[in-house]
């Protein structure tokens, strides 16, 4: 069952439109990156998906049910949303208690709780930090604590807001494998990001937005091949993809590992 945005519009509190007639569909197990300039409507779009915002017109359906009559907390077991700043979500004094917070809040049985927490710990590489106060850990690990706290829930869609900001090479590697694992479980991953290399290496589909509208929606290869779309959404190709483009090498490959084979 998908998330469906149908002709959705939403205005900022001051009355200016944030998104206008956005239509979008996210299927199970899809990996979708939403890209565009600051202010293009990316955050508004994902906030509509988990019910933080309700559309002014049009409809948002999650698993066939409208978000209009459900609170975000009710939907959190279906659509998980990891905020850009992990410190907005983290509040307890140890990593373990942070991860256990949601199961305890929902009064899950111990067995179910332990199983979900163990899974989140493994996926987010938190084994060594369980007893540590999140405040004493670097931002990169705090980001994974926030992701873990969401993954403890049994959501089938995960939204990641700028997950690569502040991550180093090992962190990026962990994030990539995490996203691949979620996909293998049939969980859809939606991200908002400015990091085009991350988009092409971890996502299959790109939604390019500009001024509150979707200007392109399709496979990475297709969207990044279209100069007009890139110009309108003011986005760039990943560095090496731009390189082969500059050289006139005929390929739609975007990932470094694929491009290597196209260099004469």
């Amino acid at each position: 069952m998908p998330i469906v945005l149908d002709e959705v519009a939403f205005d900022y509190p001051d009355g200016t439109p944030a998104v206008e007639s956005v239509s979008l569909r996210v299927e199970d197990g899809e990996r979708v990156a939403i890209v565009g300039q600051n202010g293009a409507g990316k955050t508004t779009t994902v906030k509509l998906m988990n019910g933080l915002l309700k559309p002014k017109s049009g409809a948002v359906m999650v698993d066939g049910e409208s978000t209009a009559n459900r609170t975000t907390a009710m939907m959190a077991q279906t659509v998980g949303y990891v905020f850009q700043n992990p410190d907005d979500q983290i509040f307890t004094s140890s990593v373990q208690s942070e991860l256990e917070y949601m199961p305890k809040y929902l009064r899950w049985e111990e067995e179910r709780r332990d199983e979900r927490v163990a899974r989140a710990v493994a996926l987010c590489g938190l084994e060594q930090h369980l007893e540590t106060n999140p405040n004493d850990l670097p931002i990169a690990i705090r980001k994974f604590i926030a992701i873990g706290a969401i993954l403890v829930g049994e959501c089938r869609y995960v939204i990641l807001d700028e997950p690569t900001a502040g991550l180093d090479v090992p962190g990026l590697r962990l994030l990539n494998s995490l996203i691949n694992h979620l996909q293998s479980e049939g969980i859809a991953v939606v991200t908002i990001t400015h990091d085009m290399r991350f988009v092409t290496e971890s996502f299959d589909r790109v939604v390019a937005m500009a001024n509150g509208s979707v200007v392109a929606d399709g496979p990475c290869e297709e969207v990044f091949a279209d100069d007009d779309v890139l110009k309108r959404a003011r986005i760039r190709r990943p560095e090496v993809a731009q390189l082969v483009r500059d050289l006139g090498i005929p390929t739609t490959a975007l990932r470094l590992d694929d491009i290597v084979h196209n260099i004469p």
Partner: protein, 269 residues
């Protein structure tokens, strides 16, 4: 494009002349406004009964009208009257014991003395809150602080006051973000009181942690803006010099109020 740059020039030019808020009363020295309103607000305390307080409460709308801020001031002040003033009056009037109740409603038996006392108390409070409300409509805290700085108050003191006002707004805004973040992980914030109470800690903790963690960085970044430099600071915004007649008004008002208090102390009223 040209109109945009024209606007930019107009915008910058406003720093080349005295601040003009478009009305003689609003252009008054904010310190004078503050002193005059403070004196008016406490004046009714010197008088017995509620008539003096009622007169003061009627003076504010008149000032607001002349200052051209009636549209902002009146609705707020009326709301205050209806919500705070009325509640204070009813509570005082209903529960002060006395002879000859006006009527009885169960245990409640208001008396004329109670009504008088309730009116006095409620109107005294309204006289003070009216002054506060009107001050924010007439002058801004920012200009008041600037005026104080120009008279020798240290920038540190004015910073603390101005930054506190802003940090209330910032804390509120951050709390909204955290609220959304916690809703997104399944913490319910709508519903009955128990449900809401459970959300209390998850929302307040990140807000306060962030506020504490940011204090030091705020201090260092202020230092990076030469806040601690030992030369006297200059000011981009120019306040109009205080006019002599403003001072005369201030002196007259303060003297009158002082006289009222002295009179009350020696038993004139």
């Amino acid at each position: 494009m040209s109109s945009e740059s024209g606007n930019a020039v107009a915008f910058v030019n406003r720093f080349r002349t005295y601040v003009d808020r478009g009305n003689p009363i609003r252009n008054m020295d904010p310190i004078v406004v503050f002193i005059v309103l403070a004196a008016i607000a406490i004046a009714p305390i010197a008088f017995p009964g509620f008539v003096a307080a009622a007169i003061v409460c009627l003076i504010y709308p008149v000032i607001a009208l002349f200052a051209g801020v009636a549209r902002e001031f009146l609705p707020t002040y009326l709301k205050l009257f209806l919500v705070v003033g009325l509640v204070l009056f009813v509570l005082r009037a209903a529960f002060i014991d006395g002879e000859d109740p006006l009527f009885r409603l169960g245990n409640i038996a208001p008396t004329w003395a109670g009504v008088e006392e309730g009116a006095r108390f409620a109107l005294l409070v309204m006289a003070i809150s009216g002054a506060v409300t009107l001050f924010f409509n007439l002058a801004t805290v920012r200009y008041l602080m600037l005026a104080l700085e120009l008279r020798g108050v240290t920038p540190r003191a004015t910073y603390v006051i101005l930054a506190s006002f802003q940090s209330i707004i910032d804390l509120g805004r951050h709390a909204r973000t955290v609220l959304e973040a916690q809703q997104s992980r399944g913490i319910e914030t709508q519903g009955n009181i128990i449900v809401r109470a459970r959300a209390f800690f998850p929302i307040l903790a990140p807000v306060f942690l962030a506020a504490i963690n940011q204090t030091e960085e705020r201090a260092v970044s202020l230092d990076a803006r030469a806040f601690n430099s030992n030369v006297p600071h200059t000011h981009l915004v120019m306040l109009r010099p205080t006019r002599p007649r403003e001072l005369v008004v201030a002196v007259l008002v303060v003297a009158t109020v002082l006289a009222a208090f002295i009179g009350s102390a020696v038993g004139w009223f």
